[in-house]
């Protein structure tokens, strides 16, 4: 398996005049191509910081982040980042929202436009292309946000609690939906969440972080022997419960 992402002894701290708040200490892990990794941990343990570091929005104070063996700063690999809220712009239509990333990266041409139309059609938003975000349900908005990310053809996808703003029913459906979309597109993805069942239903591997300053407490591979391995089907199996108990125990043991 090819390694897409490697983190080595990554440290990060926030600085204010009142003092220093270490957020991450000595994080080392890697992600293989095609893998779906979930990172769980208590609220405020630095999960979003970790994704911001991988996306290159922040620079680690110590340690190395490499993508395809190249340091992050020299890498040209496209990293997609899905935020907690969909952040669709009300002054643009859904189609224009989806094109935002292409516009910014100056990749807007006939074939990328075509690709955007195709993705909207595949994921059931074709009839809403000219709608404003406020006309869509929470689930559809989140799907539009995913398409906005996917249309840039990212090699690595970062998901920052993308379902946390949704109500429970929508959350299960959208989680299932997006999980299947990502499997179908064979994307490598890192999901951070504080929702254990979400992590288990989506991931191939779960990393448990400790309280802040976050370190890796435990890594647990997840495997379900299912013909139709979807997030919702996973939730029905007996293994789901035992994974849940195991991770729950690990997380609380540490406190």
């Amino acid at each position: 398996m090819k390694r897409i992402l490697e983190l080595e002894h990554v440290h990060y701290a926030y600085h204010t005049p009142e003092g220093e708040t270490p957020a991450l200490t000595d994080l080392t892990f890697s992600v293989n191509a095609g893998e779906f990794l979930a990172i769980v941990g208590p609220s405020g343990c630095g999960k979003t910081t970790l994704l911001s570091l991988i996306a290159g929005l922040l620079t680690p104070e110590k340690g190395q982040i490499r993508i395809y063996q190249k340091p992050l700063s020299e890498s040209t690999t496209n990293i997609g980042y899905m935020l907690q809220h969909d952040e669709l712009f009300e002054w643009r239509t859904i189609y224009q929202n989806v094109l935002l990333g292409l516009e910014i990266q100056h990749m807007l041409n006939a074939s990328t436009r075509q690709h955007a139309h195709e993705l909207l059609e595949t994921y059931g938003l074709k009839q809403f292309e000219n709608a404003r975000p406020s006309e869509l349900s929470g689930g559809m908005r989140q799907r539009a946000a995913l398409i906005r990310t996917l249309v840039l053809k990212p090699d690595l996808l970062l998901l920052d609690e993308p379902f946390s703003a949704l109500d429970y029913q929508t959350r299960l459906n959208v989680g299932d939906d997006i999980g299947q979309i990502l499997r179908k597109e064979k994307k490598t993805a890192i999901l951070v969440t504080h929702d254990l069942s979400e992590a288990i239903s989506l991931a191939d591997r779960v990393i448990i972080l400790s309280r802040r300053p976050a370190t890796i407490h435990q890594t647990i591979p997840i495997f379900f022997d299912l013909d139709n391995d979807t997030p919702l089907n996973r939730r029905d199996t007996p293994e789901f419960k035992s994974y849940f108990k195991l991770i729950w125990k690990e997380m609380n043991e540490h406190e």
């Binding site: 809220h85 712009f89 002054w91 935002l100 910014i104 990266q105 906005r148």
Partner: protein, 265 residues
């Protein structure tokens, strides 16, 4: 219309009734005021030399339309107001963008802007006359001076309160600060830019009139100061009425612009 329920009909009826009362009362107040004014001056209860009267103001207005002198004064004031308003709009957006780009610059300039904003701008007018001369430039700069500092501060504040999540999104899509500005900050600030314009058009008119008081040979401000000096109260009150109408008209234009923007964005 037949398929409306009684409740809905009642509701619509009450709504119409309410609107009718509001419009009727407005007209009644204005008409009553004018009538009272006219009657009391005609009866000699108040002195028409000092208070003028609606009919005298109207006559004066028509005389000035006939000799065309009113068009000069109106167009001069309108031109100066619109020009200073446009300059304020352009400069304050540019300045707010600059401040938004550089946190250092905004922190350095903040106390100066606050002081300039709270300074009574009428105090600057005599200074402007000395520097720029008693001409139209002075009037336009006086109009700008009233609005510009507050406008910069307000726009900068609205730029900095843009949802940080939306700005983060731009960075996650590979954008830089320039794209954050053009894709998020400016479009999401359009409502506050327009409400800022609504305030500015009124302030520019104030500044222009102050400027015309001191440094003009034409315009409504000049007409007001001149007529008060020669005790032509008809002229003075007519100018004030025209100023009211002009202010309303300018405000209405910005309102139209706002409606157009809401439809478009």
């Amino acid at each position: 219309m037949n398929n409306l329920s009684t409740g809905q009909k009642n509701y619509l009826h009450q709504r119409r009734q309410h609107r009718r009362i509001v419009s009727f009362s407005r007209i009644l107040i204005l008409a009553g005021f004018l009538l009272l004014w006219e009657a009391t001056t005609a009866a000699g209860i108040i002195d028409s030399f000092i208070f003028s009267s609606p009919s005298a103001i109207a006559q004066c207005f028509f005389r000035m339309i006939l000799d065309k002198s009113i068009f000069l004064h109106l167009s001069v004031t309108l031109y100066e107001t619109i020009l200073s308003f446009l300059l304020v709009t352009i400069f304050s957006i540019l300045a707010a963008v600059l401040l938004w780009f550089s946190k250092k610059l905004s922190e350095i300039l903040d106390p100066f802007l606050v002081v300039l904003n709270s300074l009574p701008k009428s105090a600057l007018a005599p200074l402007l006359i000395v520097w720029l001369g008693a001409n139209q430039t002075t009037v336009i700069v006086a109009g700008m001076s009233v609005a510009i500092f507050g406008s910069i501060l307000n726009l900068y504040t609205s730029f900095t309160t843009v949802d940080p999540g939306k700005i983060k999104l731009i960075y996650t899509l590979g954008g830089r600060r320039l794209q954050a500005l053009s894709k998020v900050v400016l479009p999401s600030s359009i409502p506050s830019i327009i409400s800022n314009m609504k305030v500015n058009i009124g302030l520019c008119l104030v500044g222009v009139i102050i400027g015309e008081f001191l440094a003009a040979r034409s315009g409504l401000g000049y007409l007001i100061i001149y007529s008060s000096q020669v005790f032509k109260m008809d002229w003075l009150l007519m100018s004030i009425v025209l100023l009211c109408i002009m202010a309303m008209g300018l405000y209405a234009i910005i309102n139209l612009l706002e409606k157009w923007c809401i439809r478009k964005f």
